[in-house]
């Protein structure tokens, strides 16, 4: 049991060290640019733990969580889905257009929008999966290209001649406003946060995290997926149809990616406009790395990124550039990747050593079969 505890501590040590290391680097940058690191940090913490900011942090984290989960599904199979970005934008826009065009009773309306988003995301990701399975095209290349194409399609469709309408009283254009029946009600989770509610989608996020864990660890499909990720040759020999797995896991990844835009769409903006958040797919990659493709890790990473993003808003008022947070996030991701690899190797060697020690002490015949045979 103590070995397992040690292993757990080691696993936790890596991200903690990475965050500490990132804090040091950020402090240096701050000092060099003439701002006190301690004051800056305490500003952020003070502001970050106000009820309203906590609400905002949870909301950002909900969105990040879906993005990272989408990346993680593919990562577990050694597929690098860089296309989450294009997948969620295309999905959110088309789902918003559908949602604005129909009127249905409450839950059904929300359900329709979500299903459309998941289907669009899945279909867009499937292109990359099918290209890889049939033509051997690297999913890295094809998803990057599909991101550009998605940008083009969104720009083309988001035009007042096509799916978009002028937003009243502004220069912005967006899809038709989704009627009340298609809104996801918010939750007053944080006391004292006033009108700033928490996205109702946070519940869906938690369910998605549980579903992810069950799918991967408790089902045959999940076993095949993880086996393929660990050793494709062994998976093939065990009877896994790797090509089919590539397509299916890209479809799942894309369907989850379709959810990325939903908290914002159904909980705040109710329309896909020019100001809809972009680039979440790339944040998702960083958080998936940080969270080691594990839902709990991803949740913590998403909260950390959400906290940094939202608490940094106070910095500008105090004339400290809030880009410092981007530096911190970047350093965290880089150092955490290095730290994980170091810990992984250390654990492997430590386990080999432990096994041979326990065998030689156990008196089960000793570790030297030569001796036994001679």
């Amino acid at each position: 049991m103590s070995a397992r505890l040690r292993s757990l501590l080691l696993t936790l040590a890596a991200p903690v060290l990475a965050v500490v290391f990132a804090a040091i680097i950020t402090s240096i940058v701050l000092s060099v640019s003439g701002h006190g690191p301690i004051e800056t940090l305490s500003l952020m913490v003070d502001y970050g733990f106000q009820p309203r900011t906590i609400s905002l942090t949870i909301n950002s984290a909900t969105t990040y969580f879906f993005a990272a989960l989408a990346v993680a599904v593919a990562f577990r199979m050694n597929l690098f889905n860089i296309g989450v970005d294009g997948q969620y934008r295309l999905a959110a826009m088309l789902a918003a257009a559908v949602g604005g065009a129909v009127a249905l009773p409450g839950p059904l309306h929300v359900l329709l929008i979500v299903v459309v988003a998941m289907l669009v995301g899945a279909a867009w990701a499937a292109i990359a999966g099918i290209l890889k399975a049939t033509r051997g095209v690297s999913e890295v290349i094809s998803t990057i290209m599909l991101n550009f194409i998605a940008t083009g399609i969104v720009a083309y469709l988001l035009n007042t001649d096509r799916l978009a309408v002028q937003v009243a009283g502004s220069n912005n254009i967006g899809t038709k406003h989704i009627p009340e029946s298609g809104h996801m009600p918010g939750l007053s989770l944080i006391p004292g946060s006033g009108t700033q509610q928490v996205f109702g989608f946070v519940i869906i996020a938690i369910l998605a995290g549980i579903a992810f864990q069950v799918l991967l660890n408790r089902t045959r499909f999940g076993f095949d997926l993880r086996a393929t990720g660990q050793s494709e040759s062994a998976a093939i020999a065990s009877g896994v149809n790797v090509k089919r797995m590539v397509v299916i896991s890209m479809v799942i990844s894309g369907a989850v990616a379709g959810l990325v835009g939903m908290p914002q769409l159904l909980g705040a903006s109710y329309s896909y406009g020019l100001d809809f958040p972009t680039g979440l797919g790339f944040t998702g990659i960083a958080i998936a790395l940080l969270g080691r493709n594990h839902p709990v890790g991803i949740a913590i990473g998403a909260l950390l990124f959400g906290f940094l993003d939202n608490s940094s808003n106070i910095l500008q008022i105090n004339e400290i550039p809030n880009e410092i947070v981007v530096i911190m996030q970047g350093v965290i991701v880089l150092s955490v990747v290095v730290a994980y690899e170091l810990v992984r190797r250390y654990k492997l060697v430590a386990e080999q050593r432990r096994v041979s020690r326990e065998l030689s002490a156990g008196g089960t015949g000793g570790p030297a079969p030569e001796g036994a045979a001679a």
């Binding site: 408790r218 009877g239 096994v355």
Partner: protein
């Protein structure tokens, strides 16, 4: 003495790879190290080349004691290694490949002219005949090997280790290589030559050291005083546990029937050519052959991992159109040749490895769900029945020694009552204890009616275990041999096609 290794011992988790090895190599000689696969030759050479540190023992080069932390330390004292797998960049020239990693500088640019001159000098001095400006991708295997040799010479090596250099060569190229080696030795260089091919060793080596089960059996034998037979006896040893299974359990029920099986390589050449055979229940069919004659492709075709033409029937049912998983479910067990690549998830715990290849069957799964408890319980059973030495079923497969990994695989593939077991080199690289255990399990299962397709490079294993023995050469089954009467020597000559008309 160019190299003196004394009392070298190297332990890996659960296995001693080298034990008290003594190796003395005279300067200006070709010294062969021979031993079977898994005898510890490679580990010894990795120690001499600084890739592994010995746990005990001393290394002396040219009379000076040394300690290597990395290959660069070995290179610094003049030791070079030519690996079995070439490490050359195809789209660069010979010149560029040779200087890669140790580029001679002239100001800011690379001194290609100087390097070209030096390469020419070396090539001429040792009769290597290498053109510095040829592209690697245009060169044949023999030429590439000469480039590898040139690369080590260029870095100033005076002692050259060649790891199984003839494995990739055709006979004429082998002769050329040996001429080159003799040339090197004439110029005062020392060559250490690793091989398990006895005729080659005898023709090129001045002295021979034989290694068996990790230790020196006999060091520094003068190659003129021994013959291949004596060498083989030293390599194999006389007390080797016998793999014999004389009492026949062969029945007349067909378990696996393969008809007209053909596998083509990517360039359309048949690598398995019209192969047909039948294995009955309770029968072990051995396939003998020099490695690379289509054995691996044959196995992968039967497993459905590689496209092929022809038909495969399992216990009377045609399985030709089924994929790998369906074939496994139909009752084919598979002990792969390369357990790390095809048999295990190295970083996964043992109980997850128990599931691998048997994902769809009890006790590992129930419907679409993985049955953790069932898989864990059955892993405990395999660990117990097959004597897998491990502290528990939660350790990663990587932490086990090769023999214990293999016992786990054999135990796994024997579960679920397979009709046929495809065993590819089932005892390769495992210690003698595990070898005997695996043989016992195969024998017991055979008595219960299991049909086994056995592919092995170990001729004693083939002869001792098989009820029927066929020889594969260039993808075709060329001869039937009676295992009751054949000797390793006559089987060996059948494998190389001696006496065959074509």
């Amino acid at each position: 003495m160019a190299v003196e290794l004394d009392g070298i011992t190297k332990r890996f988790p659960g296995v001693v790879a080298n034990r008290d090895i003594h190796l003395h190599v005279r300067r200006g000689s070709v010294h062969a190290i021979c031993g079977e696969n898994g005898a510890g030759k490679s580990t010894l050479m990795k120690i001499l080349y600084g890739m592994q540190r010995p746990d005990e023992g001393t290394i002396a080069v040219n009379g000076t004691k040394v300690s290597f932390g990395s290959p660069s330390d070995a290179i610094a004292v003049g030791i070079g290694m030519v690996h079995q797998h070439f490490m050359l960049a195809d789209n660069l020239t010979v010149l560029e490949n040779v200087v890669l990693g140790s580029e001679p500088r002239k100001g800011l640019s690379i001194d290609f002219a100087g390097a070209r001159r030096k390469i020419k000098e070396i090539s001429d001095a040792y009769g290597l005949g290498v053109d510095p400006d040829a592209l690697i991708e245009d060169l044949g295997v023999g030429d590439r090997q000469r480039v590898e040799i040139l690369k080590v010479l260029y870095r100033g090596a005076r002692i050259i280790i060649l790891d199984e250099p003839t494995a990739v060569l055709v006979p004429q190229e082998v002769d050329e290589l040996f001429d080159n080696l003799r040339g090197l030795v004439r110029e005062g260089l020392t060559v250490i030559f690793i091989s398990h091919k006895l005729d080659e060793v005898l023709s090129v080596a001045d002295e021979i050291t034989v290694i068996r089960r990790g230790t020196t059996v006999q060091a520094g034998i003068d190659s003129k005083t021994v013959n291949a037979r004596q060498l083989a006896e030293l390599m194999v040893g006389s007390e080797l546990p016998s793999p014999e299974t004389r009492e026949s359990t062969v029945t007349d029920q067909q378990a696996l029937a393969v008809r007209d099986l053909t596998v083509r390589s990517s360039d359309g050449r048949p690598v398995v050519d019209n192969v047909s055979f039948t294995i009955h229940k309770g029968e072990v069919l051995g396939i003998a052959g020099v490695e690379g004659n289509g054995q691996a492709e044959l196995v992968e075709a039967i497993m459905g991992m590689r496209p092929s033409t022809g038909t495969i029937a399992l216990a009377g049912t045609d399985v030709t159109s089924l994929d790998t998983r369906r074939r496994r479910e139909a009752g084919i067990g598979y002990v792969p040749e390369d357990r790390h690549r095809h048999g295990l998830l190295l970083e996964a715990p043992l109980w997850e490895n128990r599931i691998l290849g048997h994902q769809t069957r009890r006790p590992n799964s129930k419907g679409p769900w993985i049955d953790r408890a069932g898989a864990r319980r059955d892993t405990e059973r395999i660990v117990r029945e097959y004597d897998v030495r491990t502290p528990g079923i939660d350790v990663a497969a990587d932490a086990l020694s090769g023999g214990n990994q293999q016992k786990l695989i054999v135990g796994r593939e024997m579960s679920g009552e397979p009709v046929v077991l495809i065993a590819s080199h089932p005892t390769r690289g495992v210690d003698v204890g595990a070898q005997a255990a695996i043989w016992d399990h195969l024998r017991a299962a055979r008595a219960q009616g299991l049909a086994v397709l056995l592919i092995s490079a170990d001729l004693d294993e083939l002869i001792g275990m098989s009820d029927t023995l066929k020889v594969i050469l260039r993808g075709r089954l060329v001869a039937d041999v009676d295992p009751a009467t054949v000797t390793p020597e006559s089987l060996g000559s059948a494998m190389t096609g001696a006496g065959e008309g074509a």
